[in-house]
C-alpha cells in the first residue's frame, strides 16, 4: 500500500537465497493466509473493494505463492468475507506466483503487474478472467495511509 511512510522507499529487485524457501516450505502455511485475509477483510470493512467485482469472487479459491520464501497462502471469498483455507487446494481457481520482491513492488504500486508479467517475474495460472478481475479490483482501490487501516488497531480475537 502506498503510504507517506513508503513514498521515499524503493524496493529493489532481489531473490532470497534458496535455503530460505527450503526452510519456508517446511513451516506451516496457514499463518500467511490468516494475515492476508485479515488485510483483505480490513479493506472490505472500509468499503475499498467494489461490490461488482467482489460478487465475481464468491466461492472461488485463490493461491498466493511467494516462491523465494517458500510461503503459500490459500483463501476463498464467501458470504462477504475472505476466509483462509487451511489445506492448500490442489487446483485453485487462480494462482499467483512471484518472488517476495515482486509482491512487495506490486503492493506498494512501485511496479505494474503487466510489466512483471512480461518480464516473467509474476506468473498467473488458472482462470485468467478471474485474475483480471482481481488485478483491476486492486488497481482501482484508493488506499488510505497505512496507520489508519483498522487492521493495525484490531485484536487477534476478532478473527
Amino acid at each position: 500500500m502506498p503510504t507517506s511512510l513508503f513514498k521515499s522507499f524503493a524496493i529493489p529487485r532481489f531473490t532470497l537465497p534458496a535455503f530460505v524457501s527450503a526452510v519456508g516450505n517446511r513451516l506451516p502455511q496457514w499463518p500467511h493466509a490468516l494475515v492476508l485475509t485479515a488485510g483483505l477483510n480490513a479493506a472490505l470493512k472500509m468499503k475499498l473493494l467494489p461490490e461488482d467485482s467482489l460478487t465475481l469472487l464468491e466461492g472461488r479459491t485463490f493461491l498466493v505463492d511467494v516462491q523465494d520464501t517458500g510461503g503459500r497462502a490459500a483463501f476463498t471469498y464467501r458470504d462477504g468475507l475472505f476466509r483462509p483455507l487451511f489445506t492448500l487446494p490442489p487446483t485453485p481457481d487462480l494462482a499467483f506466483a512471484a518472488n517476495l520482491s515482486a509482491f512487495l513492488q506490486l503492493a506498494l504500486r512501485q511496479e505494474d503487474p503487466d510489466t512483471l508479467f512480461f518480464n516473467r517475474e509474476l506468473s498467473i495460472e488458472g482462470d485468467t478472467e478471474l485474475g483480471l478481475v482481481v488485478k483491476n479490483m486492486l488497481d482501482a482501490v484508493e488506499w488510505p495511509s497505512l496507520p489508519s487501516l483498522p487492521v493495525f488497531h484490531r485484536k487477534a480475537a476478532d478473527y
Binding site: 465475481l56 512501485q110 511496479e111 512480461f118 506468473s123 478472467e129 484508493e142
Partner: protein, 337 residues
C-alpha cells in the same frame, strides 16, 4: 524555442487511481471509458462507473486538465440505443470531448449534442486526409487519431491537408495495427474489439506452466511457448509464433512497444496536436511511470528542438514497462509504403 505549439500529452485511465496518477504526473488530458462494451478496453473489473467518472472529471478539470471519453466500439445490431445513451451520458457529465469510431454514432452525436466536441477514434481507421476531412465536413469532428500504420512523412501530409487537429500514438503496446478493421481475435474466439470491446478476451486465455516453459493458449489455439526467463507478451493471435512452411516464427508481428522519444522534435515540427499513450488496461503505476517520462521529455523539448537529447533514464523507464524485448518507432520510420 519551438515554432509550433508543444503537443498535448493524452494519457490513459482504467481506474480512478490511474486518472489521478496521470493528472499528478503531468498529463494535459486523460481518456477513459464506461464499464461496458461501448469502449475498446472492456475488461473485467476495469473502467469507470458513473460515480468514479464524476469524481475523475472533477479531479482533472479543477486542475486545468481535460477529460475525453472513449466510446469507440461499433454499436451492435439491435443495441444501437446503448451507444447513444453512452454519448448522452458523456454530454451530461461534461467531458471535454468524446472519442467515436462509428459513423452512425458520429451522426447521432453531432445532431443530438451540437456543443459536444468530437474526436475520431483510431478505430475509425482514417489513414488519409480525405477520410479525416470527410469526418470533419459531415460531423464537425475537431480531431482525428491516426492509426499506427503511417510513416512520419505520411502523417505530415495529412496535417498539411486538413484543418483539424491530428493526434498520434507516442507510447504503448503495438499489434498488427489494422485498427478498426482487425478480425483476428474474432477468428480465434468469435469476439473482437469492434464487437465486444476486447481483443482476445481473458475468458479464452490460458497460461500453462510446465517445467522450463510456459504455453499460452487462446480458445485452445497455441499462441506461443516461452522458455523460463524469456519475455512474454499479450496473448493475441498477431503476436504468436506459428509454424509456416516448416519454420516457427512470429509470422504476423512480434510483441513490441512503440516509443517515439527519439523523434519527438520531428513530431512537434510537423504540427502534431496531441500525443497519445496506450494502456487503459495497465495499472496506475504504469500510467505514472510513462506520463512523468513523456512530460519530462516534452518539457525538455519546449526549451528548444535543436538542444533536445533523449536521456538514457527516460529510455530505461519506458523500456522497463514495455511489452516485448524491443521498443520501436513503429511505422513512423519505415522506408516502405
Amino acid at each position: 524555442m519551438l515554432h509550433n505549439k508543444l503537443p498535448e500529452l493524452v494519457c490513459p485511465a482504467g481506474s480512478l487511481p490511474a486518472l489521478r496518477a496521470a493528472v499528478d504526473n503531468g498529463a494535459d488530458t486523460v481518456y477513459f471509458g464506461y464499464k461496458n462494451d461501448t469502449n475498446a478496453r472492456n475488461f473485467a473489473g476495469l473502467n469507470f462507473d458513473h460515480k468514479a467518472m464524476v469524481e475523475g472529471i472533477h479531479y482533472a478539470q479543477t486542475r486545468g486538465k481535460q477529460v475525453l471519453m472513449a466510446i469507440n466500439t461499433f454499436p451492435q445490431p439491435g443495441r444501437e440505443a446503448e451507444w447513444q445513451r453512452a454519448v448522452d451520458g458523456a454530454a451530461d457529465l461534461g467531458v471535454d470531448a468524446v472519442i467515436l469510431a462509428d459513423i452512425g454514432l458520429l451522426d447521432y452525436a453531432c445532431k443530438r449534442h451540437p456543443g459536444l466536441r468530437l474526436h475520431l477514434s483510431v478505430q475509425g481507421s482514417a489513414t488519409s486526409y480525405e477520410a479525416v476531412n470527410f469526418a470533419h465536413r459531415e460531423f464537425g469532428v475537431k480531431r482525428a487519431v491516426l492509426p499506427r500504420v503511417l510513416t512520419l512523412a505520411q502523417v505530415e501530409l495529412v496535417i498539411k491537408n486538413t484543418p483539424i487537429e491530428i493526434e498520434v500514438f507516442g507510447f504503448g503496446s503495438l499489434c498488427v495495427m489494422n485498427e478498426g478493421r482487425c478480425w483476428l481475435s474474432s477468428y480465434a474466439t468469435g469476439e473482437s474489439p469492434n464487437t465486444v470491446g476486447a481483443c482476445s478476451p481473458a475468458k479464452f486465455v490460458k497460461w500453462e506452466k510446465s517445467p522450463g516453459q510456459m504455453s499460452t493458449r487462446l480458445n485452445g489455439i497455441l499462441i506461443d511457448r516461452y522458455g523460463d526467463g524469456e519475455a512474454a507478451g499479450y496473448p493475441t493471435l498477431c503476436k504468436g509464433r506459428f509454424e509456416v512452411n516448416g519454420e516457427t516464427y512470429y509470422a504476423l508481428e512480434e510483441p513490441t512497444s512503440l516509443n517515439v522519444l527519439e523523434i519527438l522534435p520531428e513530431i512537434a515540427r510537423i504540427g502534431v496536436s496531441a500525443i497519445k499513450v496506450e494502456g487503459r488496461q495497465r495499472s496506475p503505476t504504469y500510467v505514472a511511470q510513462v506520463t512523468r517520462t513523456l512530460r519530462a521529455a516534452l518539457d525538455e523539448l519546449a526549451k528548444g528542438a535543436t538542444e533536445f537529447k533523449v536521456k538514457p533514464a527516460w529510455q530505461a523507464e519506458l523500456g522497463k514497462v514495455s511489452e516485448g524485448v524491443q521498443a520501436t518507432l513503429g511505422a513512423y520510420n519505415r522506408p516502405w509504403r
